[in-house]
Amino acid sequence: MKNLKIDKKQKRAELSLNSVFYPEDIVERVIKDFEGVFDTKLEREGGRINIKLKLMAKGANIEDVTYKFINYLLAEVKNSEVNM
């Protein structure tokens, strides 16, 4: 994916999201939900939100967990919209 960089060796991932599609408050809430899984850093740059993820859980695959994080975030965004 263009907006996702995964470093398997370092167990790190960088995700860049458009704040129009992913509201900040929901991103923050989802990061809180993954508190024990990732060590997270959030940066805002113009209309984008950059998330740096460092996997904390031992034995887990950084790629799998990051993609699950992405889908969980999208589901939360969709469910937050009342009229959808």
Partner: protein, 200 residues
């Protein structure tokens, strides 16, 4: 160098075989954001998705299948889902006034504060489903009972019977009484016996 393959049949799909993902480009004027979110939500169990792009000009959905699914097929299925939700949104918008009216009517019907009572007998008024007007069911029942108890005049009764008889058709001759044909000898003996008993 990254090789991007554009799907031959459908020009809104950009497939990256090396990266194992595809990008679906969507015009937000045709498919609003709520439609895109809904379509993406359906694909959450099949693929990993992110939404990006310009919400005014072009929205792009990046999809990476969870299994070994064909990328082009996945993109085309996503396009179908977009159409599906777009139709749903259009229909929902069209039906909105009707749905509102039905809900309002339902809530008003069951609202106890809106109940009215007959000033004469105190019974709860009922709404006529055809006309929508309120009426007293007790008064209505009484009127019906009166109508029923009024006996028709003798002439009217006979007219009714005649009318009923007109409708009775008997092409098979069932209504006529039937007796088995008797033999001549038997019939004569019987008539003689009767005559004897009368005389005796």
């Amino acid at each position: 160098m990254k090789k991007n393959v554009q799907s031959r049949g459908i020009n809104n799909l950009e497939i990256d075989k090396k990266g194992g993902y595809l990008i679906v480009s969507i015009n937000p004027k045709i498919y609003p954001l709520e439609v895109i979110y809904s379509a993406a939500y359906v694909f959450l169990d099949k693929a990993y998705l992110t939404i990006d792009g310009n919400p005014e000009e072009e929205i792009s959905v990046q999809m990476k299948p969870k299994g070994k699914e064909n990328l082009e097929k996945l993109g085309m299925e996503f396009n179908n889902e977009l159409v599906n939700y777009a139709v749903y949104v259009v229909q929902a918008t069209r039906n909105q006034p009707l749905r509102k009216a039905i809900i309002e009517r339902t809530l008003l019907t069951n609202n106890p504060s809106e109940e009215e009572y007959c000033p004469e007998c105190g019974a709860k008024l009922v709404i006529d489903p055809e006309t929508g007007e309120k009426y007293c069911p007790v008064a209505d029942e009484e009127a019906y009972a009166e109508e029923k108890t009024e006996e028709p005049a003798e002439e009217e009764k006979w007219e009714d019977v005649e009318e009923d008889l007109d409708f009775v058709e008997d092409p098979m001759g069932i209504s006529k009484p039937w007796t088995p044909p008797k033999e001549e000898g038997e019939a004569n003996e019987k008539s003689k016996n009767r005559q004897k008993t009368k005389k005796g």
